[in-house]
Symmetry: C2
Subunit: 435 residues, 2 copies
Amino acid sequence: MADVLAKMMSGFPEWLPAAKRQEKRILDIVAKVYESYGFTPIETAAVEKVKSLATTGDVSKEIFGIHRLAGEGENKKAEFGLHFDLTLPTARYTADNFAKLQFPFKRYQIQKVWRGERPQKGRYREFYQADIDVIGDGTLPLHYEAEVVQVIYDIFTQLNIGEFTVKINNRKLLEGLYRQQDVDDMNATLIIVDKIDKIGKDEVVRLLIKSGLSIEQSTFCAELAEKKFSVSQALEFIQELDTSDELLAAAQNELKTIFDNLSHLPDGAVIFDLSIARGLDYYTGSVYECVINGLESYGSVCSGGRYDNLAEKFSKKKLPGVGLSIGISRLLYLLFENGRLDTLAPTPVQTYVVLFDESQRPKANKMATEMRANGINVEVAPSVKKFGKQIQFAEKRGAKFIVIPEQDREDQMKNLETGDQEDFSVEKMRGFLSS
Amino acid sequence: MADVLAKMMSGFPEWLPAAKRQEKRILDIVAKVYESYGFTPIETAAVEKVKSLATTGDVSKEIFGIHRLAGEGENKKAEFGLHFDLTLPTARYTADNFAKLQFPFKRYQIQKVWRGERPQKGRYREFYQADIDVIGDGTLPLHYEAEVVQVIYDIFTQLNIGEFTVKINNRKLLEGLYRQQDVDDMNATLIIVDKIDKIGKDEVVRLLIKSGLSIEQSTFCAELAEKKFSVSQALEFIQELDTSDELLAAAQNELKTIFDNLSHLPDGAVIFDLSIARGLDYYTGSVYECVINGLESYGSVCSGGRYDNLAEKFSKKKLPGVGLSIGISRLLYLLFENGRLDTLAPTPVQTYVVLFDESQRPKANKMATEMRANGINVEVAPSVKKFGKQIQFAEKRGAKFIVIPEQDREDQMKNLETGDQEDFSVEKMRGFLSS
């Protein structure tokens, strides 16, 4: 693994500058793609009331509470806690500001979240999430489910980190098919089949039997979870569903809308994977996961789905939605860890102005100002040193050019990659840097 | 004040989307200017060890400690607290990672910080800071002090929020001049004169006398604090200093370097203001503040200065530095409050594709995809509605264009500002949007 992590407190990752620049590049791409679909940024407080946070099942164990240290004698019962995801804050924000928002409310949110879980490699206590949701007032058209998958596709294409696969499934489909086999405990079954990629079919069958299913039921569910289809195969499969079952009829309609809208994507980018069952807490329809090909063992790097009512804890209004969440810190970790991503230069310096005499600094500054006004990142030599030393320093900073102010002839610029030297001109340099 | 604040918890501001987009615009400009000087981004954990935080004098009262809620029986003595500024984290980061960093280390850091102080208008418990520092290994050339002021100038120029003034002073200068008047308690005196813009000269004299200075000493200090000079006047003033005093000799050298390097800035952008004495904790030389003209009563929106040793708490190495800090949340608040800044459109949508029939959606999506590939933010109609309703909706989203997919003739585009309608072309639209 490249040297990317600064010395850090356990679970609180800090990147070295060359890695942080890569994180920033990725966050910028993600935000840009989100905005290209009209998602608007919001940012919520890092804290929520503990009574809001603590009702969300398992995760509540992991909440960091906060309290003012000054109040030594004060009641230490924390009223506020750090948010552990961006979904609950968005639900609260949407309910609180309902009258001031436009629906469908398409928001994105890129923030740190905090969880008190045991830190492991790539599993942090503090990490970046980058989420979108489309939230409807009362109803939400199905085509937004395809849009969310399209957003995932655009982002992972633009990140340029190798091939990836978006897996799609539908909770109503699984529940409908299970029901036809008289499986009662849907959630317990979904939790087990969701593990099939990690533990294999035989182990899934064993666990299902242990959970109370018959051999026939267990085999059915495990074999179903093994099915993976291309988009065209998926359309065939859902065509044959028994739509006298209302859940299956709904699933057919939902999946058809998604796959119809995604049929233009390249083969293999999207698959229909009947093992995906995630999001037991609030997902109610289609669900998605994205894995990096070759890094499947790390699990999904992005996931999402459709829910019937995002803000039911905060509002009587029905606010259905569809969203996705990218775990940026974890993604970055596994890309660095597996050599899928290089660090960038340790600074954004593109051009370095050499100084042979401190009296040239005003001229050097003037040249730097002109370049900055033209969108070029420039550093002027910290101090006068020998030419070779300055070139070394410029290269370490990551500069592509050095500029040499001259007295008796045209100022010079030198391309540090090709070695070419020529008369200085901002326009030429801009051309080289943008090519 | 425009409607900018979402319903929020006291002291934890949340902007409505149209205001959050403005905050993002400002943060992007700030980052871009920082990078244009070669500052590289770092980001540190939101938490620091309480034992690091709690030794920094007054602020320690305001620290939010964090602890895991799950450990009900656990020791509630918080080991970690949320950082209250970005200076201490940078000092710790620089010391921890000394061997992996290049010096001068020019880093920027844009993050939230948290303080448990009583919330007031524009004074928050959670707010964004955007900082830079140049940190040297052992020594740091004086020209970086001018660079920091130049960065302030570039940022406030690019923000385009009206005129502003950067005030410069030097702690060594004040201490040298006070010493010549036999003033003993430097810090107490500096704290009082720093208030002169708010409380006036007479009150400063009264407080100085109360603090133990003679009438003559008090009058001298107050009259000194009233002095404000242009750059050329400043250069004259410091030329006349008694440089047999080593503090005054150092001040003269430091100020001359700064003002020489800033002499190209427009008249009035930078002034030499002898009342500025801020940063008693660690500033040791030049200090800066920036105020928005006409909003001086709000105090400075940006401040910084030179310090001898940033990381003395964390390292035996001498790491002198110069830096600045912009309180973004407060700046935003006062710009909105005073009508100096408008909110943006509530979404980043530039173009809206109209739908008259759901069967046109695939075509509309294809057109949207082409526009997105060309850097245009596009939303396709959520559902089929009457033309007028769709135009209204597009305008509410902030779209500049609508696009109308056609069946039997060329697709159309309509400029919502001018009403002009013509055949659709991505290139033409790009041209209009970028002009």
